[in-house]
């Protein structure tokens, strides 16, 4: 796993950075004079925002760098396909772990209603997985067609990221302007059930993403080889 090996430092740094962000904003939130429901909603919102945005940003960055480095140093495209897929899943896992872990610690420290967030978390994580699936696919495409379509693929990644980020931020701003906690907007989507089944679904989703990307890479690669 060459890609993971030389991205490990960046992944570790990002994990700590996200924990820091979450703890900072959550402590501010916890110290405020608001209802427990509001606080839990706030944290869900912040956590959700991270989950939706950071895997996308990470994949754009990692996929771009990794693909370039790997191919310019004689890496095989077929190896790159599954390595990118694995990196994709790990990016998502890092963000999930940082958010869930920091919220768990905070809920212990403050004794607040954070379990609401923890309960909603698995579905949030599934959303994040879906997001990374889109970007992972683009990253894969970029990997297979690097230097031929690299520029266009990167532009598409950036566009996808912009659309998702813009949409999510707009959503949150409107929610706040309406006077409610942003987390309430998500509430209809995120039923407060933290079950082993949900977590298993997340894991299965991640595995499905990896398998799909691997299959797609082989399929696309055969076409590329036939073409050449």
């Amino acid at each position: 796993m060459k890609l993971l090996k030389f991205n490990r430092n960046a992944l570790a740094q990002l994990f700590l950075l996200l924990v820091g962000f979450q703890v900072f904003f959550s402590v501010l939130n916890m110290l405020g004079d608001r209802s427990q429901e509001y606080k839990a909603g706030y944290m869900t919102s912040v956590g959700g925002l991270y989950l939706l945005l950071f895997p996308l940003i990470m994949m754009t960055s990692f996929a771009g760098i990794s693909v370039h480095i790997s191919l310019t140093m004689g890496g095989l495209r077929r190896a790159l396909g599954w390595q990118l897929a694995a990196l994709n899943v790990i990016c998502c896992a890092v963000v999930c772990a940082s958010q869930w872990g920091s919220m768990w610690v905070l809920s212990r420290m403050f004794g607040s209603d954070s379990p609401v967030f923890l309960a909603r978390f698995p579905r949030l994580a599934m959303l994040a997985s879906a997001g990374t699936l889109v970007l992972g696919g683009l990253g894969l495409w970029m990997g297979l067609c690097a230097q031929r379509w690299g520029g266009k693929a990167l532009a598409l990644c950036a566009l996808a990221e912009l659309v998702v980020a813009g949409g999510v931020i707009t959503w949150f701003v409107i929610s706040f302007l309406k006077g409610g906690a942003a987390g309430d907007i998500l509430a209809w989507l995120l039923a407060p059930r933290a079950s082993a089944a949900s977590l298993a679904a997340v894991a299965a989703g991640c595995a499905a993403v990896a398998a799909l990307l691997h299959l797609a890479s082989n399929c696309l690669l055969k076409k590329a080889v036939v073409r050449v």
């Binding site: 430092n9 771009g64 760098i65 370039h68 480095i69 310019t72 140093m73 004689g74 890496g75 031929r148």
Partner: protein, 298 residues
């Protein structure tokens, strides 16, 4: 052992623009090649296709008779050290030098870490700096370290001396020749600083407008040009029947570059008052590929 890298009838298009037209080339083992061509001639495209980093639209690229595309064994023997740029958010530029070299150590099976460390020290590279923060010359040094320490049987360097000062360039050529003497591996070096490198290149490949204009032994290639100067009527008489590549006039004096060996010109000039001088590799390249390259037979 080293094997032959061969391209046959390569065609490469970017959209509707065809950048390589029916290029055939054989890179033999144990030779230092110089690849020269004008900006946009297709040098980097050709090198990236030879090393399976880029697709092509027609033709084949083989190493030891096997296609290089997705061929792990072939790719392990090929190193194409690309020119680095200062773009902040582009590829490896966000990496620190030490991480970039670490990545190289994972991909090149013959990576020589001790040699890489030695070169880093010799060039005075700060390995903790990000590539995008390095000067152009320092970036070139990183590409040189990567190429040489890869110990790949076929090592290709794209503009390795771009941005290097004259001392560093001399140092690079010395290191390169020492390495070549020690390992006998194949080097392909693309450069625009032709004059300095002319003595290093055993063979020269000239790429002009996406086509191979020449692949020859450098000495033989340079020796096949002559510059004849003198009174116009003498020069015209001496160069009659030869391929004229370049003409310049100063009053009644005329200078003509021709595609003919000096000995041939000297024989033709018997009894006439003309000077016959050799042509440098750079001049030969300019005559072949320059704007006024209107080859005519005098």
């Amino acid at each position: 052992m080293e094997q032959t890298l061969q391209a046959s009838h390569l065609v490469k298009r970017y959209g509707k623009k065809e950048v390589l037209h029916d290029v055939s080339l054989t890179i033999e083992p144990g030779v230092i090649y110089g690849l020269i061509g004008r900006n946009g001639a297709g040098k980097t495209t050709l090198l990236s296709i030879l090393t399976a980093q880029n697709t092509h639209d027609a033709g084949t690229v083989t190493y030891g008779g096997q296609p290089v595309w997705e061929n792990e064994k072939a790719l392990a023997d090929l190193c194409f050290s690309r020119e680095l740029s200062g773009q902040i958010l582009f590829g490896q530029n966000t990496y620190k030098v030490k991480d970039y070299l670490l990545a190289a150590s994972m991909y090149y099976p013959r990576w020589d870490k001790a040699y890489a460390d030695q070169l880093v020290q010799r060039f005075g590279l700060d390995v903790k700096k990000k590539i995008c923060k390095l000067s152009k010359g320092m970036m070139s040094m990183v590409t040189i370290v990567l190429a040489l320490a890869s110990r790949a049987p076929i090592t290709i360097l794209d503009e390795p001396v771009a941005g290097l000062d004259v001392v560093a360039r001399e140092d690079f050529y010395k290191i390169l020749l020492d390495d070549y003497t020690e390992t006998g591996r194949t080097f392909v070096i693309s450069t625009h600083i032709i004059e300095e490198a002319a003595n290093v290149f055993e063979k020269v490949i000239i790429l002009n407008n996406g086509q191979i204009a020449a692949v020859e032994n450098t000495e033989d290639f340079v020796a096949s040009f002559s510059f004849v100067s003198g009174r116009e009527e003498d020069v015209d008489a001496v160069t009659a029947g030869h391929e004229v590549l370049h003409t310049e006039r100063m009053g009644r004096q005329k200078g003509v570059a021709v595609r003919a060996a000096r000995a041939v010109m000297e024989r033709a000039a018997a009894g006439r008052d003309v000077d016959i001088s050799p042509v440098s590799l750079q001049k030969a390249f300019v005559y072949l590929t320059g704007e006024e390259a209107h080859h005519e037979t005098a």
